[in-house]
């Protein structure tokens, strides 16, 4: 087989580029569809879209292996899809139906899959950080050589529990990778207006935790940094912090007037830094490749449409479900 890695794609094979393209596109189309369903009143409450940040979970997922765990906050659809969870089950949870991952009882912000070792989906800013540290503790305790990717936002980095976690993780050499998704804003507050120091990857310095800033719009850069951090954690050297410098195109949630940033700022990001376009540019060198990508686009639209259909046709939970799952049966 001829080497088809382009010069500027580092070690990425065509095969892996295609797979990243596919994964990122699935997230984007899924989120666009979720936005539509929200607009139609089929999804309620808070719904936080991941559009713009797709390279982060895609690159990190490429750096871990089966048996590793993932936990994040409420902006979680992309993480779930990348972990291998079924888009139908995720979308049906958004619409609050029995076919959803939590039988409709968790909603957009609270979904889990023990099968895929995805531990949520947490609505309290920062809460997933000690939880993820505890999952890493369990990996170490049971000696299964797994690691836990613990994602949180720039806003969450100002939570005290983050530093409590950093301290214990480094003290006990826990196999946890803290992935800070710095999308520049926590709701309407920019990092500059919320944080006394803005080099978020250095937030572990007081605890002796190594950290790196990474171009979170470049899936290959994410993967490379992820591989390094995961190797560090897996061999018993303790936690690692990766600050993924990224951007969310959409509002914080569906009801965001976006007065805190200019249209130009968003537009510039979309045009110059888009993670999907970036991979596409590495791939679409000839006509045949273009056709292959179009085929993927078509296939993804089909998956997303099916998910949306399932999410609308799956029934609401039976009223009897109100009182189930409070305690062990």
């Amino acid at each position: 087989m001829p080497s088809d890695a382009a010069a500027d794609t580092g070690s990425a094979t065509r095969e892996s580029l295609i797979s990243y393209y596919r994964d990122m596109l699935l997230i984007r189309r899924f989120e666009e569809k979720a936005g539509q369903l929200y607009g139609m009143g089929l999804i309620g409450g808070f719904c936080h879209l991941y559009i713009g940040q797709e390279a982060v979970v895609t690159g990190m997922q490429a750096a871990i292996r089966e048996g590793d765990s993932v936990i994040t906050a409420y902006r979680d659809h992309g993480h779930m899809l990348t972990c291998g969870m079924d888009p139908k089950g995720v979308m049906a949870e958004l619409t609050g139906r029995i076919g959803g991952y939590s039988k409709g009882k968790g909603g957009s912000m609270h979904m889990f899959s023990l099968e895929e070792r995805f531990y949520g989906g947490h609505g309290i800013v920062g809460a997933q950080v000690p939880l993820g540290t505890g999952i890493a503790f369990a990996h170490k305790y049971s000696g299964d050589s797994g690691v836990c990717l613990t994602y949180f936002g720039d806003g969450a980095t100002n939570q005290g529990q983050v530093y409590e976690s950093f301290n214990m993780a480094e003290l006990w050499d826990l196999p946890v990778i803290y992935v800070i998704e710095n999308n520049k804003y926590g709701m309407g507050t920019s990092v500059e207006r919320a944080s006394s120091t803005i080099d978020l990857h250095q937030r572990g310095a007081a605890h002796g935790i190594p950290g790196e800033a990474v171009d979170g719009m470049d899936v290959l850069a994410v993967r490379a940094a992820g591989e390094k951090a995961v190797a560090h954690a897996r061999k018993g050297d303790g936690p690692f912090i990766l600050e993924m410098v990224t951007y969310r195109y959409r509002g914080h949630s569906m009801s965001d007037p976006a007065k805190y940033r200019s249209r130009d700022e968003v537009q510039k990001m979309r045009e110059e830094r888009d993670p999907i376009e970036r991979v596409k540019a590495l791939l679409a060198s000839d006509g045949a490749e273009g056709d292959a990508l179009k085929e993927i686009d078509r296939e993804i639209r089909g998956i997303v449409n099916q998910a949306a259909e399932f999410a609308q046709n799956s029934p609401e939970p039976d009223p009897a479900e109100l009182y189930t799952d409070v305690l062990a049966a």
């Binding site: 939590s102 609270h110 309290i124 000690p130 540290t133 505890g134 503790f137 005290g160 301290n167």
Partner: protein
């Protein structure tokens, strides 16, 4: 202490238990429960401040580090928010943590994880993710430490679906209920009491013997009035019952033992016999356990009531430091006697 308090917790082993027992302090009973469960299940571990090398701030974990090593008996930094969450995450991932709070006053720093992470995740995950974790430590008034170190939390946690709340009194129940809590697949708040740690009682030695969560216990039979209590307040309730006996009033005394799920059947059955109820608790009256019992009595035994339910609670103030005020802030046997006489219309 008011006159008439028993010097030690009487043997409270379940009657069906015919096996061997041994006299232990409540402190030792709790330690033995943890040790037996740690021997039984390698997933069980203990973490908290000073639990390992110091052997526990109240010496409850004495000897555990020696037997189980630093992997399973873990000194944490002073970081309640962090280790409450870390323990909960470990439980999500399949371990069975016992998290000791030096006292429950400090658990307020971690209460977000107790409620939002541990109690709600089974439901929010549609039954997929459970948090089999025990949060334990001393609860309730301690002596002369003032408001921030002296508070009773049972109603705080009992309010929340997804949690179980246990507050034992006797050594046998402390042991049997803690073992049940560790084996339970849901998060359990296990409320101990600093003053009770030194009390002694007979406890089963059989490691398979547990006391089921959710069962109250009639510890003294009577026909005239039902008095409910739990934890340290059992001493107060029993002392009051003895004083009442001298007045010719036969009080039935119930140890609630588990606060959530509350064994309302045992309380209602007793009420049907005595037609009068006095609830004793150390906590504040507003939305307290007594308030809940008032509702239970009204909803489930309205026609059996011969008098309004009486509540004897801690005073509705932060705990004062001054010795005289502190005494006034806590229920004592005299107040329970007064309440019982009032519901019996005994003047």
């Amino acid at each position: 202490m008011p006159a008439g308090l028993p010097a030690s917790v009487p043997d409270n082993a379940e009657t069906e238990y015919a096996g061997e027992t041994t006299e232990v302090t409540v402190r030792e009973a709790l330690r033995d429960a943890m040790a037996e469960e740690m021997r039984r299940d390698a997933r069980v571990f203990l973490m908290g401040e000073e639990v390992a090398e110091y052997q526990g701030a109240y010496k409850v974990s004495q000897g555990l580090l020696d037997e189980f090593g630093a992997k399973r008996v873990i000194d944490t930094p002073i970081t309640e928010h962090g280790f409450t969450g870390l323990g909960t995450g470990a439980a999500f991932a399949g371990l069975r943590p016992i998290v000791e709070f030096m006292t429950f006053n400090f658990a307020m720093q971690g209460i977000d994880h107790i409620i939002n992470s541990a109690a709600k995740t089974r439901y929010m995950s549609g039954g997929q993710v459970s948090a089999p974790i025990v949060f334990r430590g001393p609860n309730g008034a301690a002596a002369r430490v003032a408001a921030q170190h002296s508070q009773e939390y049972s109603s705080w946690y009992a309010h929340c679906p997804g949690l179980k709340v246990v507050a034992p009194w006797s050594a046998a129940d402390a042991k049997g209920l803690l073992k049940a809590a560790i084996r339970d697949d849901d998060p359990v708040i296990f409320l101990e009491n600093e003053i009770l740690y030194g009390r002694t009682g007979e406890a089963p030695t059989d490691p398979d013997r547990i006391v089921p969560i959710g069962k109250a216990k009639v510890v003294r039979d009577g026909t005239d009035v039902t008095i409910t209590g739990f934890s340290l307040m059992m001493e107060t309730a029993l002392a009051a019952a003895e004083m009442l006996e001298q007045d010719g009033i036969a009080a039935e005394v119930i140890d609630l033992r588990t606060i959530r799920p509350l064994d309302t059947a045992t309380v209602v059955a007793s009420l049907k016999k005595t037609n009068r109820l006095v609830s004793v608790e150390e906590g504040w009256p507003f939305a307290g356990i007594g308030a809940e019992l008032c509702a239970v009595a009204m909803e489930q035994a309205f026609d059996d009531l011969d008098a309004p339910v009486a509540r004897v609670c801690g005073a509705d103030v932060p705990m004062p430091y001054a010795a005289n005020l502190e005494k006034l802030a806590l229920p004592d046997a005299e107040r329970v006697v007064q309440a019982a006489r009032a519901v019996c219309y005994a003047g």
